[in-house]
């Protein structure tokens, strides 16, 4: 059986690809944002898959910290993008 590392890394690559495709295709800001977050989730999954060492062994904590930072950065960027979108709508309505 393929190792868990390989399985989850490939899953991460898959998520990255799916998110990337949707980011490039969507016009609407919100859908693009979701796609970017999916893309980010893919990268995070690659990191955590690398960190995983098996059920008994402790996982490498450095990628965990990196991904935690990444999640926080992602939510901040999402909040900012949504606010910008709202402001543009307000300006368009004027």
């Amino acid at each position: 059986m393929i190792s868990e590392q390989l399985l989850y890394s490939l899953a991460g690559v898959g998520l990255f690809g799916i998110g990337l495709r949707a980011t490039l295709l969507h016009h609407m800001l919100l859908l693009r944002l979701l796609a970017l977050n999916v893309c980010g989730a893919g990268v995070f999954l690659i990191f955590i898959a690398i960190a995983y060492g098996g059920i008994e062994v402790m996982a490498d904590p450095v990628p965990h910290a990196l991904v935690l930072t990444g999640i926080v950065v992602a939510v901040s960027a999402t909040a900012m993008a949504l606010a910008l979108g709202r402001r543009l709508e307000a300006l368009n309505d004027e």
């Binding site: 991460g12 990191f47 930072t69 300006l91």
Partner: protein
């Protein structure tokens, strides 16, 4: 005096926090913070000059466990340029923003931008680079949106989307690198990375992400609207600094980490895109109707010149010729930084006093704003590449390197680019010196015009005449180019 490396990041950060709380004194806080950070950057350059590259492992943990900050000739010079431009733009911004609400919004974000720039230039860790890139992107977008009109918001949203995409692609590369090599430290990686599939794909990903951030053709489409619709001091920082540091990271990665992975073909590809950028950007600049849009397209072209250096540096053998090409790249980047920021600050002055920045309607500006027009002419000289500007020397070495590397085909591109640049600069000056009543009365606004003047002088005179010191400095104190 390792502390200067910390202070140059910590002072603007403290300044940003304090300016949130005490928004009434924010401009004073910003000016003081930036001047202090400028002093720190001078100390860093002096330290590198005397003792060579500085490596500071934060926390003194063993390699790879912690994050290290590095300053060598390349990064410290760029840091110094960055702080000079920021300080000048800070003085200008104090006068530019008259609305107290806008001022309260501007200063904390502006100081965050400074933190991001400095932290990025001094970073020695791949993931830390990602975080600084994100901080840089978010603060740049926030500052762009300050103009608060439809064009600015649209440009800001596009800038944010593209920026996030670029960062994520870059991060994917970082993930692959960690997978293969188990460390994020740039120094450690420079010894470990070989040419094999993982590193090659990571190389491609990181390069792609950075190309988005540096707005190389054809990934430049987000730049013109963003730089044109941002407030003038912000545009100055965006064109002069924000895109430059992305090129810096790319250069650092290519030469330090991926030197065994990169191929002449990849360098040639980027060089070709750079050549297209030069011609396309210059042509679009000539067509532009607005001053700031013209300047933004000119930035696209100038970034193209920087990328033309890549295939030459890769092709040339190690030695003084390669060093010269490298330093010429740095010189062009510096000169453009000063010249473009001076240009944008002047465009801001014109926009404020004419009420618009449409080039065709700038008649009479030379009479009304003589100093500003002079600054535009000076920075125009640096943009075209006339002596004694730094760009002249840069292009000179670019041409001679092309011949020495046997890649003569870059020379016509440089020639066409320079001709087009001459055309678009003289177009503005032609209108400015022409008849018309764009402003109405003669104005001399020292506080607003002098910073731009100083920047333009840097570009045109000081860098050109002082370039030999720069040559020695870079050649002796770069961490790379040493195999």
């Amino acid at each position: 005096m390792n502390d200067a490396i910390i202070w140059v990041i910590a002072i603007p950060l403290l300044g940003s926090l304090i300016s949130i709380i005490w928004s009434r004194y924010a401009s004073m806080i910003a000016i003081i913070s930036n001047l202090l950070a400028l002093a720190a950057s001078i100390i860093i350059v002096a330290q590198v000059y005397q003792y060579g590259p500085v490596n500071h492992a934060l926390g003194s943990w063993q390699s790879g466990l912690g994050i290290s900050l590095r300053a060598d000739a390349l990064s410290s010079i760029l840091l110094l340029m960055s702080m000079i431009v920021i300080s000048a733009a800070t003085f200008y911004a104090g006068a530019y923003f008259t609305d107290p609400v806008k001022r309260a919004r501007f200063w904390p974000l502006w100081l965050m931008l400074v933190v991001a720039l400095n932290a990025l230039l001094l970073s020695g860790d791949l993931f830390n680079l990602y975080v600084t890139l994100e901080l840089l992107g978010l603060s740049a977008v926030a500052l762009t949106a300050l103009s608060d009109n439809r064009a600015a918001l649209q440009a800001a949203i596009r800038y944010l989307s593209i920026g996030l995409l670029g960062s994520l692609v870059f991060l994917a590369g970082v993930a692959l690198i960690y997978m293969g090599h188990g460390t994020l430290d740039l120094v450690a990686l420079s010894n470990k990375v070989q040419a094999e599939p993982l590193s090659q794909v990571a190389f491609g990903l990181m390069t792609a992400g950075l190309l988005i951030k540096s707005a190389l053709f054809p990934l430049h489409f987000w730049l013109p609207s963003a730089h044109a619709s941002a407030p003038a001091p912000v545009s100055a920082a965006l064109s002069a600094l924000v895109v430059k540091v992305a090129v810096y990271i790319l250069l650092r990665l290519w030469v330090d980490v991926f030197d065994l992975v990169l191929t002449p073909l990849s360098a040639m590809l980027l060089g070709t895109l750079g050549a297209i950028a030069v011609i396309w950007g210059s042509w679009q600049a000539l067509q532009a109707q607005r001053l700031k849009l013209m300047a933004a397209y000119s930035t696209v072209a100038q970034i193209g010149y920087l990328f033309i250096f890549l295939p030459l540096i890769v092709a040339l053998p190690e030695g003084p010729v390669q060093d010269a090409a490298f330093t010429a790249l740095l010189l062009m980047a510096l000169t453009h930084g000063f010249a473009k920021s001076a240009f944008f600050l002047s465009a801001g002055v014109i926009q404020q006093y004419c009420g618009h920045d449409r080039i065709a309607e700038l008649g009479g500006t030379a009479r009304a704003l003589p100093l500003t027009t002079f600054v535009i002419a000076l920075s125009g000289v640096a943009l075209i590449g006339l002596p004694p500007s730094g760009t002249f020397l840069g292009k000179w070495y670019l041409i001679s390197s092309s011949f020495q590397a046997g890649q003569w085909w870059w020379v016509p591109v440089i020639a066409i680019g320079s001709v087009l640049a001459t055309a678009y600069v003289f177009r503005i000056l032609g209108y400015a010196f022409g008849p018309g009543e764009s402003v109405g009365r003669v104005l001399n606004r020292g506080r607003e015009e002098i910073p731009a003047l100083l920047l333009a002088l840097f570009a045109t005179l000081i860098l050109g005449l002082g370039s030999f010191e720069l040559w020695d400095f870079v050649a002796q104190h770069s961490e790379f180019l040493r195999g």
